[in-house]
Amino acid sequence: MFKHYNKKQLSIIFTSLLVGMLSTHSVSAEIAVIVNSANGSALDKNSIERIFMGKMKKFPNGQVALPMNAAKGMNSRDEFNKSVIGRSSSQVNAYWSKLVFTGKGSMPNELSSDAEIIATISSNQGAIGYIDSGSVTDAVKVIAKF
């Protein structure tokens, strides 16, 4: 079959294949980081990362931070880890496994849907989580989008 293609056509095919491979992960929904409506904290990306990695345990106002993860396998979790933590979900899990099994940290709780995350955050002053931007409601406050 290849004899029907010339070199230029082949290189176009390869380039589009490559672009296709590289861009499979960039087809992503926007992630909204949400907190309780009464939480007045402003957090930059680094602080959000540190809260979800267990390195920052309180908001700037002194309130204890309760990070909430989306369940393993949810798209929002992979997107959040990639764009905010800068690692794959597996790498983040590996990071936590060394803390959990040496008693030096507890992985953030897991919730199984955006609705459950919103419900938990709207009823817990210190809770912080992330959901698909399209799921945001008035019950919570968005502090950042990625």
Partner: protein
């Protein structure tokens, strides 16, 4: 590490209804590795056990040829030979953490290893008291925080390789009963934890020491390895792209080699000091891991063990090819011959593939090169080429 606590919670809730006690929040999680491998060839060992004062004979052979052996786990004497085996490194562990309220938790880790025919043992059990937001106190049985990877050396999912390089993680004692105080603080964007610890380990019938006794022709009934007054500290510093750790500890060493008739061989106690600096760096697509350590004895020989590890991992989505080099040396600074003792390196490469959010597949090749000179009598490992494949998981 999903909290598999629904059925337990149901049990606890029913017990609350009956007894009226406040239920402890119990979390169950775990980790494990199913690993199999083998060495690929034979090796000729010069003079292990050879008596240099006698001439070579059938009963005093200057060299023996046997299957290559890789000791993948020194503490448990988990060894690969030419027979493909799951036993040396396969492990399954269940962790139960009961939060009893008022900042007090109890943790137990039930571990089953192939080297022990999978008979489960509580390897870890300790209380954790969160005294303040910054200060955590722990009491009980834990791993000694020696090397950078020591405390989680059995959690295969936590690192890229099949195991932390076994030619450095070779100590006959890895755990102790003791007290830990950990203090967390921040310096700008950097997180710090300083831990101080104190404890003892009376390792009766030590598996690794019994193995050495037999290797060198002994017939001891058992060897008790005693590490006492273990005290020291760790300082952990981490930022956005790095995590480093400094360690110092010291302890007293003693040993009881018990003969079949019950008599105990003489042993001169000494003290050892352990110094180390290790960590990880995440730079763009690469992760670098390193550890440098120096163990010194205050014995008559001036024994020293300088060791180091360097490793690079390339992170390509879920694929993590890696290479590592680890070197161990043994010196006797107070002797005329300071250099010619145990010495070896391992060159390892392989790939970790995160095929599942909680499980990874690994394949690794290890080249172990025994650099001890034959006349030293320390060339007991022998060279080996080993292939291992496995799956590490957490839940």
């Amino acid at each position: 590490m999903k909290n598999l606590n629904k059925s337990l919670l149901a049990l606890l809730v029913s017990s609350v209804l009956i007894s009226g006690y406040t239920a402890a929040d119990v979390k169950i999680s775990g980790f494990g590795s199913v690993v199999a491998g083998r060495t690929l060839d034979d090796v000729t060992l010069d003079n292990v056990g050879f008596d240099w004062s006698q001439s070579p004979s059938a009963s005093n052979p200057p060299s023996v040829t046997r299957e290559q052996i890789l000791t993948a786990d020194f503490y448990d004497v988990g060894q690969y030979s030419n027979d493909f085996s799951f036993k040396p490194e396969t492990v399954f562990a269940l962790q139960v953490v009961a939060d009893m309220g008022d900042n007090l938790k109890v943790t137990g880790q039930l571990v089953a290893k192939g080297t022990d025919d999978f008979s489960p043992e509580f390897d870890w059990y300790y209380l954790t008291y969160q005294a303040t937001d910054e200060l955590t106190l722990m009491a009980g049985r834990r791993n000694i925080p020696m090397y950078y990877f020591s405390e989680f050396s059995e959690v295969g999912y936590a690192y890229p390789w099949m195991r932390p390089p076994s030619n450095l993680y070779w100590w006959q004692v890895t755990q102790f009963n003791g007290l830990h105080a950990m203090y967390d603080f921040s310096l700008g964007d950097y997180s710090n934890t300083i831990s101080v610890f104190y404890g003892n380990e009376y390792s009766n019938d030590n598996k690794e020491m019994k193995y050495y006794d037999e290797l060198y022709g002994g017939s001891a009934k058992s060897v008790n390895e005693l590490w006492t007054d273990i005290m020291g500290f760790n300082w952990n510093l981490s930022g956005d792209f790095f995590d480093v750790r400094f360690v110092y500890f010291q302890n007293d060493r003693d040993r009881e080699t018990i003969a079949q008739d019950g008599s105990i061989a003489d042993f001169t106690p000494f003290s050892q000091a352990f110094l180390g600096f290790g960590g990880t760096l995440d730079l763009a697509m690469f992760t670098f891991l390193f550890d440098w350590n120096l163990v010194t004895y205050d014995d008559a020989h001036g024994t020293e063990f300088p060791t180091y590890l360097i490793s690079a991992v390339y992170n390509l989505d879920e694929f993590h090819p890696f290479i590592s080099y680890s070197k161990a040396d043994h010196k006797r600074e107070k002797r005329a011959n300071t250099e010619d003792y145990e010495e070896h390196y391992m060159l390892s490469y392989g790939i970790r593939y995160d095929f599942h959010p909680s499980a990874s597949f690994k394949i690794q090749y290890d080249k172990f090169v025994d650099e001890a000179v034959p006349e030293s009598g320390w060339r007991y490992h022998g060279d080996s080429d080993t292939v291992t494949v496995g799956v590490d998981f957490i839940f």
